[in-house]
């Protein structure tokens, strides 16, 4: 049943959703869909040898599950505009995850109804691992479709030429050395997806996140829609596939590779993504990332060094389809 803007009450809850127990096969299927084959999300023996209890469910998988759930909440007409997810705990294979949320604020902007919500993933042991926020575009009762086409805050040209000033002041910090501070602003290489978005790529991703929304899986429905073709689920856009032989895995953000001194561990701290245009079957995406901040945060046990990067994703017409901010935390 379609949810309408007029019917949403601030403070009310979103209809929750559960997945699981999630299996190793679920993780392999998602890894295959996004061309990500790291041992930590696939190889039980590797995980045990490295001190984990089981194979870890990946951050992008959990974020994609949240997107898939929110896509159900907004119904056939609505869209997800923005999502912010923090990774605060480990989830393993064999766990059951539940997504919950509360509508916190609603407002109309340029004739569109926006609703903000607090969201989270909680596992069967009560661990809240993915708290976050989302902004949803919910139709009003007089709307039978929404044209998802928004002005981005930057163009591709502005993104890659923007000056980011840095100043090296604390000469005693053992993590934030002069070389590391100078990495702020460093730009990764631009990367074009290896082929235009095709149906099997959409199928793999939708099967990987248990997504059945008509605009992603029903070719006839999509042909008859105002868009005229299948589109990619939003979460797929922020996870680039492998290139060909000369390119490696780029992950969420293709920033230059570097090591923060006196750190040995890197974990996914979270991601914030906002979408501006839909990605249609046949579109070819190009993306480029840069480091926008590196700082030290004192943790309870040890220092955390978040490396913050931003990625711009454009289509073949150089239109911005999404901006994504990734936090990668380096630790001693």
């Amino acid at each position: 049943m379609q949810l309408y803007y007029e019917d949403i009450k601030e403070g009310s809850n979103l209809l929750s959703k559960s997945w699981g127990p999630l299996t190793n096969m679920d993780m392999i299927r998602f890894g295959s869909a996004v061309d990500s084959y790291g041992e930590i999300h696939q190889d039980y023996d590797w995980c045990i040898q490295h001190g984990f209890d089981n194979v870890l469910l990946s951050g992008p998988f959990k974020q994609a599950l949240l997107c898939s759930w929110l896509d159900e909440v907004v119904g056939d007409i609505g869209y997800i505009k923005k999502i912010e997810v923090s990774h605060r705990g480990i989830n393993y294979v064999d766990e059951t995850l539940q997504a919950t949320g509360t509508f916190t604020k609603k407002y109309i902007l340029d004739g569109n109804g926006f609703v903000e919500c607090d969201i989270a993933i909680t596992n069967n042991n009560g661990l809240v691992s993915c708290p976050g926020k989302a902004t949803l575009l919910i139709p009003m009762k007089n709307m039978d479709s929404i044209d998802f086409d928004f002005e981005p805050p930057v163009t591709y040209q502005e993104f890659i030429t923007k000056e980011i000033s840095t100043e090296y002041t604390d000469t005693t910090n053992i993590y934030l050395t002069k070389e590391i501070i100078e990495m702020i602003g460093a730009m990764g290489e631009s990367y074009t997806w290896p082929e235009p978005l095709d149906i099997s790529a959409i199928r793999r991703f939708t099967q990987g996140v248990f997504e059945t929304k008509s605009r992603y899986v029903d070719i006839e429905f999509a042909k008859n829609s105002s868009i005229g073709s299948l589109i990619a689920p939003p979460a797929y856009v922020i996870r680039p596939p492998y290139g060909f032989w000369d390119k490696g895995m780029l992950g969420e953000s293709a920033i230059p590779v570097f090591t923060v001194p006196n750190t040995t561990v890197a974990v996914n701290g979270g991601n914030e993504s906002e979408w501006y245009k839909v990605v249609k079957e046949g579109d070819t995406l190009t993306q480029q990332a840069r480091i926008v901040d590196i700082y030290e945060k004192k943790g309870k046990i040890r220092s955390l060094i978040p490396v913050v990067s931003e990625t711009i994703i454009v289509n073949q017409c150089n239109e911005v389809v999404a901006l994504s901010k990734q936090i990668n935390i380096r630790m001693p």
């Binding site: 299927r29 082929e195 095709d198 099997s200 790529a201 199928r203 939708t206 099967q207 248990f210 997504e211």
Partner: protein
Amino acid sequence: MVEQEQNYLTPEMLSQIGKEGEETIWPEPLDKSSLRRFIQATRDDNPLYHDEEYAKSTKYGSIIAPPFYFHRSFPSPLGVVENAEKEEMRHRGLVDTPGFAKQVNAGSEIEWFGQIRVGDTLTGKTVVSNIEQKEGKSGPMIIITSDRIIKNQDGKLIAIVTSKSLRRQAEGTSLF
């Protein structure tokens, strides 16, 4: 006096010779991201399979799939998310051999008759051609021979795969 081998081939088992499996079909026409995944997985850098310009200069005129590509799985189509892999299993457990549930692939012989191109949709259908018993080092085995006929969307024969499935004694059903 030579001890006679026990015959495990029941009339029910033997009646399955000639049995036809359901026809399975690829969930979508072959597209480039499926092809890329396959050639990356098999470490096959032949430009005929991924370089449009090179492929144009060959007698094939466009990119073709590696010969073994037809062996890709037959996953569930777009929109089916529960047990997405189950569909590809459907043609395998065609013959039930109760008491011989431990099955392994004992090899196959393949003959090709045509190429697979981007845009093709292949179908596969399996026919059981023989069921026999043999004595192995670890005991009796049942060997199922089947022919899998692979065709493209125009009905053109692409390949015939003759496979042997070897079953060893174990409780349970060999169907899955």
